[in-house]
C-alpha cells in the first residue's frame, strides 16, 4: 500500500482500494500488470534525437519519414507530445526540453536540452520552431529565452496561441485569458 501511495494522484484511500483489488483478482491479471511495468521500464528509452519516450534508438515519430523534419515543435515533457498528437494537426517533429526554466527548482538552461535543439537546426535543416511550452510564467519565460537564441540563426520562431476555449462564451472568460487572446489576434480568412 505504501508503494502504491507513492504514485501520483493516488491517496491513501485509493492505495488501499487498489491493494485489496490486486489481492482479489486472478493471478494472471496481476502478473500481466507486473510484467507490463517491468517491460516498460526495461524497453523504453529516450529518443536520441528528440528525447521523446520510445523503444529503440529513435522514437516512432523521428523514425517516420513522412513527417516533416523542417518543422519542430518544442515541448517541456513527453506527455505534451501525446497532447499535440491527439490534435492530428501537426505533421512535423518534436523536441522535448525536459522541463522549463525554473531557478527555484534548480533548472537553468544547462539542465534543459537546449544545446541538443540548437544542434538539430543545421543537421535537420529546421526552418520553423514552434514553441509549445506551457502558458504559465516558467513556460513563457522559457519560450522567450529560446526565441532569443533561435531568431539570430535565421529560423522562423512561433509560439502557440493561447486564448479562449472553443465553444466557450466571451462573457465568462477571465481578463488575463481574454487579454492574451486579443494580443494573439489574427486576420479572418475571407
Amino acid at each position: 500500500m505504501d508503494e502504491l501511495g507513492r504514485l501520483p494522484g493516488i491517496g491513501p484511500k485509493s492505495a488501499q482500494r487498489i491493494a485489496f483489488h490486486l489481492l482479489k483478482v486472478a493471478k494472471e491479471d496481476a502478473l500481466r500488470l507486473a510484467r507490463t511495468i517491468v517491460e516498460v521500464k526495461e524497453r523504453t528509452v529516450l529518443c536520441s534525437t528528440c528525447f521523446n519516450i520510445g523503444i529503440g534508438e529513435r522514437c516512432a515519430i523521428c523514425g517516420d519519414d513522412r513527417r516533416d523534419r523542417t518543422v519542430v515543435c518544442v515541448v517541456e515533457d513527453p506527455r505534451d507530445i501525446v497532447a499535440v498528437e491527439r490534435t492530428r494537426e501537426f505533421r512535423g517533429r518534436y523536441h522535448v526540453l525536459g522541463g522549463a526554466l525554473n531557478p527555484i527548482e534548480g533548472v537553468g538552461p544547462e539542465q534543459l536540452r537546449i544545446r541538443e535543439l540548437l544542434g538539430r537546426i543545421d543537421t535537420d535543416g529546421i526552418a520553423e520552431v514552434i514553441l509549445c511550452t506551457n502558458p504559465n510564467l516558467e513556460g513563457d519565460t522559457t519560450a522567450m529565452y529560446l526565441a532569443r537564441l533561435l531568431r539570430p540563426l535565421g529560423v522562423r520562431v512561433t509560439r502557440i496561441a493561447s486564448g479562449l476555449p472553443v465553444g466557450g462564451d466571451l462573457e465568462y472568460a477571465d481578463e488575463l485569458t481574454l487579454g492574451r487572446a486579443l494580443e494573439g489576434r489574427r486576420e479572418v480568412d475571407a
Binding site: L101, P103, G108, P109, L137, T141, D174, E175, L176
Partner: protein, 339 residues
C-alpha cells in the same frame, strides 16, 4: 449594525477573523496558520452562509496547517482564491491599523494590493505573477554568486522581462488606486480631526519607470547583494499631513485618524469600483479613540450608507450606536441580548 459583546478572550476577534478568512483566505491579524487552529485540534473549519439580496453562497474552508486550505464555494472546489472575493468582500478596522501609518512600507503595500484585489479580484493574477517572477529572479541572483556569466545574463534578461511586464502593470494599478483613494481619505481625515492641513497620499516608487530599464541599471548591485533591490516590492505609499511625514511627525492620535481615513477611503473605493458593498468588520474599533474621534467615526460609518457591519466590544455598546442586534459571545456561543 450587529454588535458582539463578550469578555476578553471570549473569541470576538476570532469571529471577525473567521469572517475575513472566508473572503481573503488569510487572517487580518497575520501570523502563522497554526495560530488559526485551536490548541490541541488538528484543523479549523470556517463555514459562511452568505445572503445578499436573493443571492446565496456557501463558503466552506478547512484549515490544516500541514497542507493547503481546502476551500469550497457552493460545494464546488474553488478554482482560484480570488473567486471568493466575488462572493464576499470585507473592510476591516482593528486597533492594529495604527501600524499601517506607523510601521514600515510592507504593510502599506499590502494595504494597496488588498484594496486593489478586493475592488478587482482578477488583479490577484498580476500580483501572483510579480511575486513568482521576483522569487525566480532572486533565486537566480543568489545562484549566480555574484558572477555574471553569459548564460546568467541571458537567463536574467528573460526573467527581467517577465518581472517588468507584471511589475509595470501592478505599479500602474497601484498609482491609479492611490489617485482614487486620496480625495476620500483627505475628506475623512478632515472630518475626523477637524484639522485644516489635509492628508496627502503619494505613491513613492523605488525606481524610475519603465521597470525593465531600472532592472538593467540595478543589475550589478542586485548581483552583488543576491536580491532584487528595486521594484514593486520596494515601493511605498507616503502618508503625510501638511507636508509632514505621518509616520514620524504626527501625534499617535492623528496617526490613528490617518489609519481610519485609509480604511474608510478603501471602503468607499471598493464599493464604487466593485459595485458591491463590503461587510464592515469593526474589531474593538472604538476602544483606543478619544470621545470626539469616536463620535466623528460614527458619523463616517453612517456616511458609508446601508450595508452590513459587525462591531465587537468588550465593554457596553458604545454611545450613539444604533445596533439592530446585540449578541453576547461566551463559551463559543452567541446569544441575543434582549434590550
Amino acid at each position: 449594525m450587529t454588535v458582539v459583546t463578550g469578555h476578553n478572550g471570549a473569541g470576538k476577534t476570532t469571529l471577525l477573523e473567521a469572517i475575513g478568512y472566508a473572503s481573503t483566505l488569510r487572517s487580518f491579524r497575520g501570523g502563522q496558520k497554526e495560530a488559526l487552529v485551536r490548541n490541541g485540534a488538528t484543523r479549523a473549519i470556517v463555514r459562511a452562509d452568505l445572503a445578499d439580496g436573493d443571492r446565496r453562497a456557501l463558503v466552506e474552508i478547512e484549515i490544516d496547517p500541514s497542507r493547503r486550505d481546502r476551500v469550497q464555494l457552493n460545494r464546488q472546489r474553488l478554482a482560484r482564491p480570488e473567486d471568493l472575493l466575488e462572493a464576499l468582500r470585507v473592510t476591516v478596522f482593528t486597533p492594529d491599523d495604527l501600524a499601517l501609518v506607523k510601521s514600515g512600507p510592507e504593510l502599506r503595500r499590502d494595504y494597496l494590493d488588498t484594496v486593489l484585489e478586493t475592488a478587482r479580484p482578477r488583479l490577484a493574477l498580476v500580483r501572483r505573477a510579480v511575486d513568482r517572477a521576483l522569487r525566480q529572479r532572486n533565486t537566480l541572483l543568489r545562484q549566480a554568486g555574484g558572477r555574471l556569466t553569459a548564460e546568467v545574463a541571458a537567463t536574467l534578461d528573460v526573467w527581467d522581462t517577465q518581472l517588468a511586464k507584471a511589475g509595470d502593470q501592478l505599479v500602474d494599478a497601484r498609482r491609479r488606486l492611490v489617485d482614487a483613494l486620496a480625495p476620500p481619505a483627505a475628506a475623512a481625515f478632515g472630518r475626523l480631526t477637524r484639522l485644516v492641513e489635509p492628508l496627502e497620499l503619494t505613491y513613492r516608487p523605488s525606481y524610475d519607470p519603465p521597470l525593465l530599464d531600472a532592472l538593467a541599471a540595478a543589475r550589478p548591485d542586485d548581483l552583488r547583494r543576491g536580491t532584487t533591490t528595486i521594484g514593486p516590492q520596494r515601493d511605498d505609499l507616503l502618508v503625510a499631513c501638511g507636508g509632514l511625514d505621518a509616520r514620524t511627525r504626527l501625534s499617535q492620535g492623528r496617526q490613528r485618524s490617518a489609519a481610519l481615513a485609509l480604511r474608510l477611503a478603501a471602503h468607499e473605493v471598493v464599493t464604487d469600483k466593485a459595485a458591491a458593498r463590503p461587510v464592515l468588520l469593526l474589531d474593538d474599533a472604538f476602544s483606543e479613540l478619544d470621545r470626539a474621534t469616536a463620535t466623528a467615526l460614527l458619523d463616517e460609518l453612517g456616511r458609508l450608507g446601508a450595508g452590513q457591519a459587525i462591531l465587537t466590544t468588550a465593554g457596553p455598546v458604545p454611545d450613539g450606536i444604533d445596533a439592530a442586534l446585540v449578541l453576547q459571545l461566551a463559551d463559543g456561543r452567541l446569544t441575543p441580548v434582549p434590550r
